[in-house]
């Protein structure tokens, strides 16, 4: 290896660093964030100005990286989840020749910083490391002439100095997508290398703490084409392999979660909801609030969700277990409401934008669905079970008025409690 070679690597590193810095400044503060948006596109200027005043954001400080081999389904996932975004533009940032990061859109409220990483090839990074290593050997040999070069030092120096350490800065979660329908061994090998790399970078940047706090979330993707038994087998196989690998590498304390997902049903939403919730610091408070909400509504509430309207990710729910069916119904109810509203929207777009989105539907059985917007893009969806009020409403005409009245009372109660909840949420998030 010659010095020239090293030089070229260095310049690459420089561009890498620059773009990374751009990236992180873009996401670190809300005000900067919107400023960035402002310059990004003229169309959004008005929107942003309007929104800024009452726009609150949950405190997500951390980035989410969406990674995986080519054709594992990363782009389709982000398309499915974030395509409703009006300012949808994929910004390609070239990180040297090694990593292309497609900056994905953040959900406005959630400020989800999801970055889709393309062409992430561990071998290239290893090569880079090797190069760095060799060069340092050479230069140290030339400069000092000493014999005793500690390999570990150089390795640490690499992790510390190279631009890649910035890559893992601020990263809260790495979502790794494994295509379950193809041969996934290569993908798993890549993943364990990635974990090792992240781990070493972390260790190199702060020697003392061993609290390795990046969550690894493995999406075992495209499971819609596997049958039920095979799904579980695949999951078990993948989990086993990764655990073995990590054991071999001597890496401990890494939190890895596995999800079986498919973009054709709600599993991908469910997985993303869980992943996001881990990053929300205020989650316990919010959950408590929702529990209180239920308690104060005469036990007539079956389930309550806090939704991000754009991505249909639920940010929080009450502490009772989540039934995927009720999640689906609630999320579809949002869609129905939006669709109906949009039908007449183009007549007077500005006026509609400012109106809160509120909808209510009573079903033929005891259930009702109630939805109300807390603030821009965040809404509450409640499944109401009118069982209590329904004893005398057995579809007889004389009694329908009665059930109507009790139903109305319940709605008023929920409306009132909703306003209390809204006020409190605003306080928490400010």
């Amino acid at each position: 290896m010659s010095h020239k070679d090293y030089g070229s690597v260095k310049t690459n590193n420089k561009t890498f660093q620059e773009s990374i810095v751009k990236n992180s400044s873009n996401g670190s503060l809300n005000s900067q964030d919107s400023a960035h948006d402002l310059e990004a596109s003229h169309n959004d200027i008005k929107n942003n100005k309007v929104l800024q005043s009452d726009d609150l954001e949950l405190g997500l400080r951390k980035k989410i990286l969406l990674m995986g081999l080519d054709r594992s389904g990363k782009s389709s996932i982000s398309k499915v989840l974030f395509n409703n975004e009006h300012q949808s533009k994929n910004k390609v940032i070239n990180l040297g020749n090694y990593v292309n990061i497609i900056e994905n859109l953040k959900g406005k409220l959630l400020d989800l910083k999801v970055y889709e990483v393309e062409n992430f090839d561990m071998n290239e990074i290893l090569q880079l490391q090797q190069l760095y290593y060799n060069n340092n050997m050479v230069s140290k040999n030339i400069n000092s002439g000493t014999e005793d070069i500690n390999n570990m030092d150089i390795e640490d120096a690499f992790y510390k100095d190279s631009g890649f350490s910035k890559f893992f800065d601020d990263v809260g979660t790495i979502i790794y997508v494994v295509d379950s329908t193809s041969e996934y061994l290569a993908s798993l090998a890549n993943l364990s290398m990635l974990i090792e790399l992240a781990y070493k970078f972390h260790k190199a940047s702060n020697y003392t703490s061993d609290d390795f706090n990046i969550n690894f979330e493995v999406l075992i993707h495209k499971v819609d084409s596997l049958n039920e038994d095979f799904k579980l087998d695949t999951q078990r196989d993948i989990m086993q392999r990764i655990q073995d690998e990590l054991l071999d590498l001597g890496i401990e304390n890494v939190a890895i979660n596995f999800y079986l997902t498919s973009i054709f049903d709600y599993t991908i939403y469910e997985a993303f909801s869980r992943i996001t919730q881990k990053l929300i610091l205020e989650l316990p408070f919010i959950e408590n609030l929702l529990d209180n909400f239920i308690m104060n509504c005469h036990n007539s509430i079956e389930k309550i969700f806090l939704f991000d309207i754009n991505s249909k990710i639920y940010i929080s729910t009450d502490s009772s277990p989540v039934n995927i069916l009720s999640y689906e119904v609630c999320s579809e109810f949002i869609d129905v409401t939006l669709d109906l509203r949009d039908l007449y929207e183009d007549e007077n777009p500005r006026k509609y934008k400012n109106k809160p989105l509120k909808a209510y539907s009573r079903l033929n059985n005891d259930f009702s669905i109630y939805m109300n917007e807390v603030f821009k893009n965040l809404c509450v969806v409640i499944l109401v079970n009118n069982n209590n009020s329904n004893e005398y409403a057995n579809n007889e005409l004389s009694n329908t008025t009665n059930s109507n009245v009790s139903n109305k009372m319940l709605m008023t109660l929920i409306d009132y409690n909703f306003n209390v909840l809204k006020g409190t949420l605003k306080k928490i998030l400010k």
Partner: protein, 321 residues
């Protein structure tokens, strides 16, 4: 209560999509589910209750050549098959736009028409040019017009001058539009509904009032409709496809709430935008869009909606009296 029975023949070549559209409109299938359907063997009868006192007798005729031949044979001895073409009120003939043998399609169509001329000359003819989604968007209109002029020619040869055609696809709203106007043309009491809709729209100063049939979410009539005609008044700035879109959305919603074991919904309201969808009676859903909802008192709206419900719960009793 007097029962009106109407016989519909659903015909077309094999694989043209007859059973698919029947399942979507009447059996709550989603477009995706229709993949499961196999070929129809012989004839599948379905009796569909529509608007309470009306029964649609839908004959879904298998389209494979062997069945087609048997329907069209002149077998006077057995007479078993000949009853197919008797007492038919409506013929719905489905054409596959991607078909390789257009001439054969038309030939069969004309044979069916010939049979109908003998057995039920008063029958209404609808042709659906189906699977339009497979054609490029800019070529659709042209293709449809060519097909229609050809088919109209064929029809008039057999004395059927009043033919209506629709371009359809199960993947968008066009299917609802076609079936709405087919079924709308068969409702005997449609004028009563029209009058009521007009009156309510004026009284409540509504932007829009649409009546939907409850199980199929086909449009029965709407305030934007001209009298005795299926042409719609184009109200400024409103989406011309909105009826079909509403049908589609509500049907999706209905499917969605099956998960909560509810077979239908009583009401759905988006008050800030003045949208109210209410259950009017056993057969009808009303879609109401109010002008200037922010000027209206909520209680007033509720009261009005109850009045509207009362009006429609009486409507069927009025008819039977």
């Amino acid at each position: 209560m007097e029962q009106t029975k109407a016989k519909l023949l659903l015909m077309g070549r094999s694989g043209s999509g007859k059973s698919s559209m029947r399942s979507i409109i009447f059996s709550n299938y989603s477009a995706f589910d229709t993949r499961r359907l196999g070929a129809t063997i012989d004839i599948e009868h379905s009796h569909l209750k529509f608007l309470g006192n009306m029964t649609l007798n839908l004959w879904d005729c298998g389209g494979q050549d062997i069945f087609m031949d048997s329907y069209l044979q002149d077998n006077n001895e057995t007479n078993s098959k000949n009853h197919i073409f008797q007492m038919v009120q409506v013929l719905i003939h489905v054409f596959d736009v991607e078909s390789d043998e257009v001439l054969k399609d038309i030939e069969i169509f004309s044979m069916v028409l010939q049979k109908l001329r003998n057995s039920s000359p008063n029958c209404k003819i609808f042709v659906l040019i189906h699977k339009m989604d497979l054609v490029q968007i800019n070529k659709r209109d042209n293709l449809f017009n060519i097909m229609m002029s050809k088919l109209k020619e064929t029809c008039s040869m057999y004395g059927f001058d009043d033919v209506k055609g629709f371009p359809t696809s199960i993947w968008d709203e066009s299917l609802y539009k076609a079936w709405s106007s087919i079924v709308g043309s068969m409702i005997p009491t449609i004028d009563v509904y029209r009058k009521k809709v007009k009156k309510i729209t004026e009284l409540m100063n509504l932007k829009e009032f649409i009546l939907f049939e409850k199980t199929t979410f086909l449009v029965v009539c709407s305030s934007a409709e001209k009298n005795n005609d299926n042409e719609y008044v184009t109200v400024d700035n409103m989406d011309p496809k909105r009826f079909e879109k509403i049908s589609n959305v509500l049907k999706t919603y209905k499917q969605s709430i099956y998960k909560l074991k509810a077979n239908n919904f009583q009401e759905l309201q988006i008050p800030e935008h003045g949208i109210y969808i209410i259950n009017l009676n056993d057969n009808l859903m009303g879609f109401i869009n109010i002008n200037k909802p922010e000027w209206m008192n909520n209680n007033l709206i509720e009261k009005n909606l109850q009045k509207v419900k009362l009006m429609f719960s009486n409507i069927e009793q009025d008819n039977t009296d």
